[in-house]
């Protein structure tokens, strides 16, 4: 029976699942958007991925989780951060990548890749959600437009204005003022995307700008975000197919490593090598309340 490796990116707004077969071929890739670290979202993505692959859960031999909810999934054999997973996934998609921009629901990360395809440095937003998908979500609501249409409408802008505040809440007030002043929706939306681009440029500066740059994460689907980022960075960004699931792909590749290592040395406990990296928390944190839940949901 073919054995499979699974990567789950349990993100702040979406759950992504990638299944690879023993040869490393992608058997499934699923996304579910159900809100912040949603149980239902991850369950749907898991079910969808298994269906796509046409396999039973018992065929999955190794699971690696990543994303903000990574520690909540007890079906995972181990968890790895999204920084490491996005880097691995992005390099698998674009082997020559030297910098990865991952703009997700709640945070933005810029990851410098070394000559071996490993993470050399990284920078993350850490004070607020400015420059993230959440920022776009809040401002889409303020402008009264569907999130999916924001990018195309922003690119209709024929002039630009500036949004000075980087706090999502203050920026919302500013957007409302700009609309009240008579600026068109495309102009205001262009300003919103420019603000995200400016924020990301600051993070890129911290790790060092190097080409080629690959963009991953949900915001990579937003054409205006990509456009203004390219403009601000004065470079072309590579947005590979599967950019949003790059983290799950990276996790699946780590799971595949584990699968192969175990096949090469039967009985070896893979986690031994990484116990030092991912020690158990001393106390059960609130996230642990969900332990057991996913195994049950997944297996039911």
């Amino acid at each position: 029976m073919t054995a499979y490796a699974m990567g789950i990116d349990f993100g702040s707004t979406t759950a992504k699942v990638v299944i690879l077969d023993e040869s490393g071929e992608m058997a499934a890739s699923a996304i579910s958007q159900k809100g912040a670290v949603s149980d239902e979202g991850v369950r749907m993505a898991l079910a969808d991925a298994l269906q796509q692959a046409g396999i039973e859960q018992s065929a999955i031999r190794k699971v690696v989780s990543t994303g903000y909810g990574r520690r909540m999934l007890d079906i995972a054999d181990r968890s790895i951060t999204e920084i490491t997973c996005h880097a691995r996934g992005a390099v698998a998609l674009v082997p020559q990548a030297r910098v990865v921009l991952d703009i997700g629901g709640q945070d933005s990360k810029v990851i410098a890749i070394d000559a071996n395809g490993l993470v050399a440095r990284y920078a993350m937003n850490d004070r607020c959600a400015a420059g993230t998908g959440k920022f776009l979500e809040v401002l889409a609501r303020a402008v009264n437009i569907e999130l999916e249409r924001m990018g195309s409408v922003a690119l209709e802008a024929t002039e630009t204005v500036g949004i000075t505040s980087m706090c999502a809440t203050f920026a919302e007030t500013e957007v409302i003022s700009l609309l009240a002043e008579g600026h068109s929706r495309p102009v205001v939306l262009a300003a919103v995307h420019q603000a995200i681009a400016n924020r990301t440029v600051g993070l890129v500066g911290r790790v060092g700008k190097r080409d080629p740059m690959v963009m991953t994460g949900g915001v990579s689907h937003n054409i205006a975000a990509v456009h203004y980022l390219e403009k601000a960075l004065a470079t072309s960004l590579i947005v590979p197919p599967g950019a949003q699931t790059a983290g799950a792909l990276g996790a699946a590749l780590f799971a595949l490593d584990d699968l192969r290592a175990e096949a090469a040395e039967p009985g070896k406990r893979i986690a031994d090598e990484d116990d030092g990296v991912l020690a158990e928390p001393l106390e059960c944190k609130p996230a642990c309340e969900k332990k057991g839940l996913f195994a049950k949901l997944f297996r039911s």
Partner: protein
């Protein structure tokens, strides 16, 4: 948990409650001091309890209206403690300056609580000048005189020698715990180490020494740390303690902090006063001028010691696989030095992670991702 560690943790978590209880029990007096360079031996020799003022986790309230929001969390917390009357249990406060923000805090506190006697003694910042020793001796004498006048006591040389002996013993006991921790022979989390040091800043030194003497053999019997934890060196937080939850988070990510230069850590116990120097004030002044060799301070000028180079060597010596810099937001001396530290560690290819902390707290899940990623990168480099 070990009963002694629990006792020390209790004091560290509620420092002022200990002092109030001590005053009530002993009928004694307590003098608050500022961190880093205040020679607490002199205060102790006056027969009072020296207490290093601590940042409290309470929100900044009335103090926020009296002080700049772009000053560090420690100084803002101190000012808030003063405006809220939380320091009224002290009989005096002795400032020994080391940064502009603390100078300002001293002024605001004087205005806010005129009833608390606040001393200010400015120790020379240049440690290698021809006049450094003479100047330091003079300042220490004037500090002792001020204390005598305020407290109505006489500080004798014998009092000073006894205090020096007591403080030296305390430092040596804590340093021996550090030695055991570096060698990997005891299992002690960074938060527990902080409790040991922080409680020493608060407690009666005799009581603290007695507890430490009892604790040492117990630590040796308690077992070794997990073999696969990633050893790290922690640096920074020059005045106040990093929040225990941050240290716990770091160590929950599979890292073991085995050494540090934190003020609420090795920095506090780095340098003894040479008891063989006949004049105790001269001994304390000499220790002050030598302290930079054992834990460089970015507010002191000693051209022969570079903090960044010193740190690089310490990290290598103790067997740490990298450095975690804990930088208190708006700490200007640290801001000034950090670029050099970063450049040194990058050029020597030693992994390092910067964590900027704030009085108001930081996003812990975001921090967890950063720390775990750092651990993953470091582990893969090995």
């Amino acid at each position: 948990m070990n009963a002694i560690l629990e006792r020390l943790a209790g004091v560290a978590q509620n420092p002022y409650e200990y002092v109030k209880a001590w005053k009530q029990e002993h009928g004694g007096r307590a003098v608050g001091t500022l961190p880093m360079h205040c020679p607490a031996e002199v205060i102790h020799a006056a027969g009072v309890l020296p207490v290093v003022l601590q940042e409290l986790a309470d929100p900044i309230t009335s103090g926020g209206g009296a002080f700049f929001p772009f000053f560090c969390g420690y100084t803002r917390s101190l000012v808030d403690q003063a405006t809220e009357g939380k320091l009224d249990f002290l009989d005096a406060i002795s400032f020994t300056d080391h940064c502009v923000q603390l100078l300002s805090a001293a002024d605001v506190m004087r205005i806010a609580r005129p009833q608390i006697r606040i001393h200010f003694h400015q120790l020379i910042a240049a440690l290698d000048e021809a006049c450094s020793l003479e100047n330091s001796v003079g300042i220490l004498h004037s500090m002792a005189t001020d204390l005598e006048e305020t407290l109505g006591v006489t500080i004798t040389e014998d009092d000073l020698r006894a205090s020096i002996r007591l403080f030296n013993e305390n430092r040596q006991l804590i340093r021996s715990i550090y030695d055991m921790r570096r060698s990997g022979s005891i299992r002690l989390r960074a938060t527990q180490m902080q409790h040991i040091v922080k409680s020493s800043m608060i407690m009666d030194k005799q009581e603290h020494n007695a507890l430490l003497r009892e604790l040492l053999p117990q630590l040796q019997q308690a077992g070794k740390p997990p073999r696969d934890a990633l050893p790290m060196y922690a640096s920074g937080h020059l005045c106040h303690a990093p929040r225990p939850e941050i240290l716990d988070l770091i160590e929950d990510c599979g890292i073991a902090i085995i050494d540090d230069d934190l003020y609420h850590g090795y920095r506090y116990v780095s340098t003894d006063v040479d008891e063989s120097i006949g004049d105790p004030i001269l001994g304390i002044a000499t220790a002050y001028l030598n302290k930079n060799d054992n834990a460089p301070c970015p507010t002191r000028l000693a051209p022969h010691t570079d903090w960044n180079i010193w740190l690089r060597d310490k990290v290598t010596e103790c067997g740490a696989k990298g450095l975690i810099v804990l930088l208190a937001k708006y700490c200007e001396p640290h801001y000034f030095h950090y670029p050099r530290i970063k450049a040194t560690f990058e050029s020597n290819n030693i992994p390092h992670l910067l964590i900027e902390t704030e009085h108001e707290g930081i996003a812990m899940e975001n921090l967890r991702t950063k720390v775990e990623s750092f651990a993953e990168i470091t582990k893969r480099r090995q």
